[in-house]
């Protein structure tokens, strides 16, 4: 039996070499199908992971209280320091709260001048947003109390105003009518959950920005309140409690809608990854069709060559091959071709994934499951379509097989 299998392998390899073009055409469908399925699914998973990572970059269990409903919030009342204190004191499960006000403003350093997001907040903001310091330091409570003219900048600002690798600490920059000293540079975060640059912000104590930039004092100055939940505390409860508190503070009655909203980053991450998962399945299904088409291609080539091969089987039978020897040869041939195609497909997919992950910026996650599934599927198709016509032919009488036209 071992000798017979070895002999069949020998015969099969001879056949594949003899019909190199046909073998190549047979295999190419499988290669493309397998590669497409694996690439789609792997990239889809990578994209899901990327979205999750980007949203988690926004902060630890981050919740954001914003005016109005939806994104715009135009006209709806903003938030006061009293709101911030009330949330901190009355809502359970909160790790930290920071008021937040932001404006676009032109920032000038020497000859360079650009518009950036200038934001005022407390030192808590850095905790909540999971910011790390790369150079210098964050500002202190004392500096907040003094409305100190200091700021912390992101990498993009350093690159654009100071130049790459230049130490900006201690430099003075102008924002509108005030001069701020750069005291810190935040570590790079890169792209955010919405594809935005997270490193182009200039952060000052909120007192500084309110007093010197917007000119307003007291009252409702904050266009956001950043909240981080305690680790393990369900953010949905915090959302509900913050909403209830704000309704009470603003005396919103039961039949009025909220003039604020609470954004839950975890919820968003889940929603987005759910939809990317749907996309992944969809792309995978489309790629699956291409794998099926590849299989049909194999069937086609096998059927087209069946005339020639039937005669060949006839010759082999006439010169004394047993039906099972011929069958084994064809089986080995089909298995070899399919496996070569499957492996080549996986290799191609690997290359494509690594390359496309680079282009898209998504992480490359090797998924053994989809590799195995598509490999087994391709092998099954190849064996089925390669083997079936051969089995039919091997059952023929040698005379009929020889006469086959």
């Amino acid at each position: 039996m071992i000798a017979m299998t070895f002999n069949a392998l020998l015969l099969a390899i001879r056949e594949i070499r003899r019909n190199l073009m046909r073998s190549f055409l047979t295999v190419i469908g499988i290669v493309i199908g397998v590669a497409a399925v694996i690439t789609m699914v792997t990239l889809g998973r990578g994209a899901t992971e990327m979205v999750k990572q980007q949203i988690s970059k926004m902060g630890n269990n981050l919740l954001v209280l914003r005016p109005g409903q939806g994104w715009g919030g135009g006209g709806a009342p903003m938030f006061s320091m009293e709101d911030v204190d009330a949330i901190r004191d009355q809502v359970p499960g909160i790790a930290s709260v920071a008021p937040f006000v932001s404006n676009n403003a032109t920032v000038v350093y020497q000859q360079e001048s650009r518009t950036y997001d200038v934001q005022g907040t407390t030192q808590n903001y850095f905790d909540i947003g999971n910011w790390k310091i790369a150079l210098g330091r964050f500002f202190t409570e004392a500096e907040i109390a003094d409305s100190a003219p200091v700021c912390v900048i992101g990498e993009t600002i350093r690159k654009e105003l100071f130049g790459e690798g230049v130490d900006p600490i201690g430099s003075k920059i102008r924002v509108k009518n005030m001069t701020l000293e750069v005291i810190g540079l935040t570590a790079v975060k890169g792209q955010g959950g919405f594809g935005d640059d997270m490193d182009d912000s200039l952060t000052t104590p909120y007192t500084t920005i309110i007093r010197r930039l917007s000119g307003r004092q007291g009252g409702k100055n904050f266009n956001q309140v950043m909240i981080s939940g305690e680790e393990g505390y369900l953010t949905a409860y915090i959302v509900a409690d913050v909403a209830a508190l704000m309704r009470e503070r603003r005396k919103i009655t039961a039949n009025e809608t909220d003039n604020f909203n609470v954004f839950d980053s975890k919820q968003l991450a889940e929603t987005i990854s759910a939809s990317t998962k749907v996309m992944t399945s969809l792309l995978g299904a489309v790629a699956g069709v291409s794998l099926l088409v590849g299989g049909i291609g194999i069937m086609n080539i096998m059927l087209v060559s069946v005339t020639e091969r039937t005669r060949e089987i006839g010759i082999r039978l006439a010169i004394g091959a047993r039906a099972r020897e011929v069958l084994l040869q064809f089986l080995v041939e089909a298995v070899t071709l399919s496996c070569v195609g499957g492996v080549a497909g996986i290799a191609l997919a690997y290359g494509l994934c690594v390359m496309l992950a680079e282009v898209v910026g998504a992480p490359f996650l090797f998924d053994p499951k989809i590799n195995i599934i598509s490999f087994v599927f391709s092998a099954a198709i190849g064996i089925l379509f390669g083997f079936m016509p051969a089995r039919r032919a091997a059952r023929l009488d040698p005379i009929d097989a020889l006469r086959h036209e």
């Binding site: 005669r311 006439a318 010169i319």
Partner: protein
């Protein structure tokens, strides 16, 4: 001449189809062929000569009757056993040559050896030797498409004799060849018969080709109508 009985047919019938469509191709053929004979089977188309040939070549089984090949009761063998009998004792030459396309002459000749467990070296040696016997040593690497009809048939003959069979079956071996090449092929077959004592059983409808054989069997309507030893 070896007078041992090579082939012994008794009351062989062959029925194709069933019911109204049934057709009796052979109606009780008795025949003895001895080792070393060169037999031509002739007859008009539909006479049953091809059916007889296929039965003799163990490619087909009779509906009734007994067929002994060197004493083996062929009608009792199953498909695989008949394959093994063909593998070890018989060689075949076909009208259409039936060489594997895109395959060198050497590899075509090697084909039967692949089923016999010879080593690569043995296969090469035996195939080269067989090609030398048909004077095609210089065409080893050529594929059938690069060979003339006569050369292709010579490759097919080399393939048939490479296993050193006792018996060679040739089905219209010159059917696709011109008259000059026909002479060449027939000379070759005659040489194999006289020098190597291979029994040859050949189907043909050409009188000149049949004239090369030492015995001519005429088949008509499923029966042997005439059986003449010419030389």
């Amino acid at each position: 001449m070896n007078s041992e009985k090579l082939i012994e047919l008794q009351g062989i019938t062959k029925l194709y189809g069933t019911g109204d469509a049934a057709f009796l191709a052979l109606r009780g053929v008795d025949l003895v062929i001895r080792g070393g004979e060169f037999v031509a089977i002739m007859g008009p188309s539909g006479s049953g000569k091809s059916t007889l040939m296929n039965l003799l070549g163990c490619l087909d089984t009779p509906t009734a009757g007994s067929y002994r090949f060197k004493g083996i009761e062929v009608e009792r063998l199953n498909k695989d056993q008949r394959s093994l009998l063909r593998r070890h004792a018989l060689g075949f030459i076909f009208q259409g040559f039936n060489l594997l396309a895109r395959t060198s002459a050497l590899e075509n000749v090697e084909l039967p050896l692949l089923y016999r467990g010879y080593t690569r070296k043995q296969r090469h040696e035996m195939a080269r030797e067989a090609l030398a016997q048909v004077s095609l040593s210089d065409k080893e690497r050529n594929t059938p498409a690069e060979l003339s009809g006569g050369q292709q048939q010579r490759v097919a003959i080399a393939r048939a004799i490479v296993t050193r069979p006792d018996t060679l079956f040739a089905d219209e071996p010159t059917g696709n060849l011109d008259s000059k090449t026909t002479v060449e092929i027939m000379d070759l077959l005659r040489k194999l018969n006289s020098e190597r004592h291979i029994s040859i059983i050949m189907v043909t409808h050409e009188d000149e080709v049949a004239g090369c054989a030492r015995r001519i069997i005429n088949v008509r309507d499923g029966l042997i109508s005439d059986d003449v030893v010419t030389r």
